[in-house]
Symmetry: C2
Subunit: 337 residues, 2 copies
């Protein structure tokens, strides 16, 4: 590998002079600058980022940890984060945790070893707390996305889950539905809790009774729990006329199960959910959804993270909690009873 010393020798100057040319610092005569540049081109020199990082004590490397790389909500979010990072000259390392605490732990470890300048993460759940404490302890700035973790104050970008759930239920009630089920993620995830809460509130508001049997707590994640869904559907009789799904993955899995029983949406049952499906599924968008600004989650979160990094040495300002409003998009998956 070519180093600045190789350049320096061939150009007949000191390594420091080469460093100055590279970074445009200090005073260099045009003549030597040109000579050094020519030699650099000749030898195909590329600076060694690690050596720089070691002495500069910053890596210009950020980490984004998401829980499901095949979920379009998260890939869109990733694009937003990437765009913002790139604009400010940071590189972005992705990690895919699959909602798995152990994988998350491995990635946290990688973050610390790599000395990343900051982390953007959608935590696997409340049990991510020790991971966050680890980051805090090592003074790695981080911003949470989509989910809060009780017991840890930090910057966080959230969607308005409670309000979203309320609106979805309201939409169903408006369609004449009174027996409304909820299939949701684990209660160890703040957004799932909020959605459950919004669901309950909306029921109450409409004088509908909360029936525990109509609520299934499973996983937001990519590993489907089809047998759990099947069993749940078997237990509920009569079947509810409408379903709320806590996210897009659950909506799809529920639809699969319904379809296998010969039930069509919306003819036989109605269905609404959080988050858009893949853009490729939108050839024929028919699900009524709460559409969250996925790109903004990543973009805004990244800006907040960069703010923290920039002001790392200053007395840290109060934590910022941004709640992005979500939009109800009415399509054709709710039947008017």
């Amino acid at each position: 590998m070519v180093t600045i010393y190789d350049i320096a020798e061939k150009a007949g100057v000191s390594a420091m002079t080469v460093s100055r040319v590279i970074n445009n610092t200090g005073r260099i005569s045009e003549k030597t600058r040109a000579k050094v540049k020519r030699v650099m081109d000749e030898l195909g020199y590329v600076p060694n980022q690690m050596a720089r990082s070691l002495v500069l004590q910053e890596t210009r490397l950020l980490f984004l940890m998401i829980t499901d790389i095949t979920n379009p909500f998260y890939t869109t979010l990733a694009r937003g984060a990437e765009d913002a990072a790139k604009k400010h000259g940071y590189r972005l390392l992705f990690g895919n945790t699959d909602e798995d605490l152990e994988k998350e732990n491995d990635y946290i470890d990688a973050v610390l070893k790599t000395r990343a300048d900051g982390v953007l993460l959608a935590p696997a759940g409340d049990a991510s707390l020790p991971h966050l404490e680890m980051l805090r302890r090592h003074r790695v700035p981080f911003v949470l996305l989509d989910r809060e973790v009780p017991g840890m104050d930090s910057d966080v970008v959230l969607g308005d889950s409670k309000e979203g759930a309320r609106q979805l239920v309201k939409q169903l009630v408006g369609g004449g539905h009174r027996r409304i089920a909820l299939i949701n993620g684990s209660r160890t995830i703040s957004s799932a809790r909020e959605r459950l809460e919004g669901y309950r509130e909306a029921l109450k508001l409409n004088d509908l009774e909360y029936d525990e049997a109509l609520v299934l707590e499973t996983s937001f994640g990519p590993r489907s729990d089809l047998t759990g869904i099947e069993a749940w559907l078997d237990r509920m009789r009569p079947l509810p006329t409408a379903f709320v799904a806590g996210n897009n993955v659950l909506a799809v899995e529920l639809m699969r199960s319904l379809r296998s029983r010969g039930l069509r949406v919306p003819e036989d049952v109605s269905l609404v959910c959080f988050d858009e499906l893949a853009s490729y599924a939108e050839m024929d968008p028919f699900l009524t959804v709460i559409s969250q600004q996925a790109y903004q989650f990543g973009h805004l979160g990244m800006q907040m993270l960069l703010d923290r990094i920039r002001s790392r040495d200053e007395p840290s300002p109060a934590w910022r909690k941004v709640v992005l409003p979500a939009e109800l998009i009415v399509r054709r998956s709710v039947r008017q009873l």
Copy 2:
């Protein structure tokens, strides 16, 4: 930040002893090992990967460059690559080029600066050649995915595009179709060329004439060229009875355009394509597709890359070109004429 020197001092040993404990090298008495470990825990020590990399001359960092992070083909591929990398103790840095040569160039630059141990990439096109030459020049092992680049010998994992196109056309011909259009990616991309070639061969085999007007060359990428598609559809009269789409993105965009003209698939026109849509779109899978083993692309490609890295110093064996067979999955998007 805590360093091995802090540990060493507090444990009353030398830095080297600490290093030995960390890496389990050399001989260390159980007593000192325990003492050092205790101090490490106490201070919350995490090794500095950069410092290690600098002296070891390896980063254990790999790069995966894909052309569209929102395309499920690539995210599934990414998962395959990630799984394989993780298993061997490597971390994986993702880059999203959006089929854009300039972005690709930026990422190549990042790879070199970071001194990544290897690269897995789906090149933006034939014009990626200089980027690959750059990698070769700097002795960075790489494996191409999904696309070849003329003029550059290397390991590569491809799908059988030609055969896939043949099968898709055959399927349509079998349905009685004789006027078959093709919407394809840019001819600067090897897989697009292969697909065109397969399409032409299949037409010939079935005594159908190749009509240039029935072929649209646009982009595989995420930035839609809707007006181009609209104009193309306007030009063709009568409209073909069937379409082959060069990938999933194009299939979706074409369907949108068709839908906006009130044309339904398969009632009014038939449509087949390469690659599955998002798994979330598979609630109701109805497109007949050539399904490629996306996960295998990433997984196998990563294994090949790791092989190269391991044998970097040995005389390099011949380049390996793996062609993964693709499977025709017949669904309901082709109408029997």
